[in-house]
C-alpha cells in the first residue's frame, strides 16, 4: 500500500460513520479541502475506499481536513478527513 508516495503527494484517510479507510491512490498534498472532500465523497459513494462500506449519497460538508507533513516516524505526508470532535 502506497509504495511510492512522492513528496508533493499524501495518503488520504477518511473516517465516515465509524468506518475508516484510505483512498487507493495518493492525492496532491496541496489539493484544496473542497477538492479532497469531493474525491473522498465520490469514493465512499461508489465503494472505493476499503474499510468503508458502499453508501448512497453522502455529505462531508461539515467534516474537517487535517494535514500532517512527513516526519521521522511517518516518511510521507498524510491527510485525514474526519468528523468534528467538539466533545470531551
Amino acid at each position: 500500500m502506497y509504495p511510492d508516495i512522492r513528496p508533493h503527494e499524501a495518503r488520504l484517510n477518511v473516517t465516515w460513520r465509524g468506518q475508516n479507510g484510505d483512498l487507493i491512490d495518493p492525492v496532491p498534498y496541496s489539493a484544496s479541502d473542497r477538492q479532497l472532500k469531493r474525491w473522498a465523497q465520490e469514493a465512499i459513494e461508489h465503494g472505493g475506499i476499503s474499510g468503508i462500506g458502499r453508501r448512497g449519497p453522502i455529505s462531508l460538508r461539515d467534516f474537517v481536513v487535517d494535514r500532517f507533513p512527513a516526519s521521522a516516524t511517518t516518511p510521507f505526508n498524510r491527510i485525514f478527513i474526519r468528523p468534528k470532535t467538539p466533545f470531551g
Partner: protein
C-alpha cells in the same frame, strides 16, 4: 520534571471522569476542574453514580475516588475562565483537556502554550464514531459543542471508555519516557500520528 507530578484534568464529563478512574495509579497529585453538576443522564455515559446526583462533578469524583480507592484528589468546583485559568493551570506539570466546548479549549491552549506546560487533549465526535487523543503540538480545535446534547443514553459508553484508556496510556508513556504519542480512534481501530 520529576515525580510526584501535578496533573490537572479540566472537565469531569465523559472523558474526564473515566480518565480519572484510570489515572488512580499515577505518581502525582490529581486535580479535577468542573463547574457542572451531576444529572441522572450523566450516569449512563460518565463515571458518575446516583450517589452524586445534584452534586458538583468535581466534588462528586473527589468523594468517589476517596470512597472507592482511598485516593485523595483535589476538586475545583468552578468554571475555567480567563480570570482564573492561569492561576488554576500554571503550576501543573501536565494539563489534560476533557472539555466540551471550543472557547474553553482555546483558553486552555493559550495558558499551556504561554506557560510551556505539557497538554493532552481528548476530543469526541457527537455520534461516537471518532475521537482524537492528541498532544497540544498537533491539536487543532474544532468548533461546536456548546449547548449540544451528546450520548445521553449511554450508547457510546464503551467507545468513551476506550478513548479514556488511550488517554491514560498516553499520560503514562509521557510521564515514564517523555514521549508524546497522539492518536485518532474510531470504533474499529486506532491511527497513530
Amino acid at each position: 520534571m520529576s515525580a510526584p507530578y501535578r496533573i490537572v484534568i479540566v472537565g469531569a464529563g465523559a472523558l474526564g471522569s473515566h480518565l480519572l478512574l484510570l489515572s488512580r495509579n499515577l505518581p502525582g497529585q490529581l486535580t479535577v476542574i468542573d463547574f457542572d453538576r451531576v444529572e441522572r443522564k450523566n450516569t449512563l455515559s460518565q463515571f458518575h453514580s446516583r450517589m452524586g446526583l445534584g452534586r458538583n462533578k468535581a466534588a462528586a469524583l473527589q468523594q468517589a475516588m476517596q470512597g472507592l480507592f482511598g485516593i485523595r484528589i483535589q476538586a475545583v468546583p468552578h468554571r475555567l475562565t480567563a480570570d482564573n485559568a492561569a492561576a488554576l493551570l500554571s503550576g501543573a506539570d501536565l494539563v489534560v483537556d476533557c472539555v466540551d466546548n471550543a472557547p474553553t479549549r482555546a483558553l486552555i491552549q493559550s495558558v499551556v502554550r504561554e506557560s510551556d506546560i505539557a497538554c493532552l487533549h481528548g476530543a469526541l465526535a457527537a455520534d461516537g464514531s471518532y475521537a482524537r487523543v492528541m498532544w497540544d503540538e498537533v491539536f487543532s480545535i474544532d468548533a461546536g459543542g456548546e449547548g449540544q446534547a451528546t450520548c445521553e443514553d449511554g450508547e457510546h459508553l464503551p467507545f468513551i471508555a476506550v478513548v479514556a484508556a488511550r488517554m491514560a496510556m498516553a499520560i503514562q508513556r509521557f510521564l515514564r519516557d517523555g514521549e508524546k504519542c497522539s492518536v485518532h480512534l474510531h470504533p474499529g481501530g486506532i491511527l497513530t500520528l
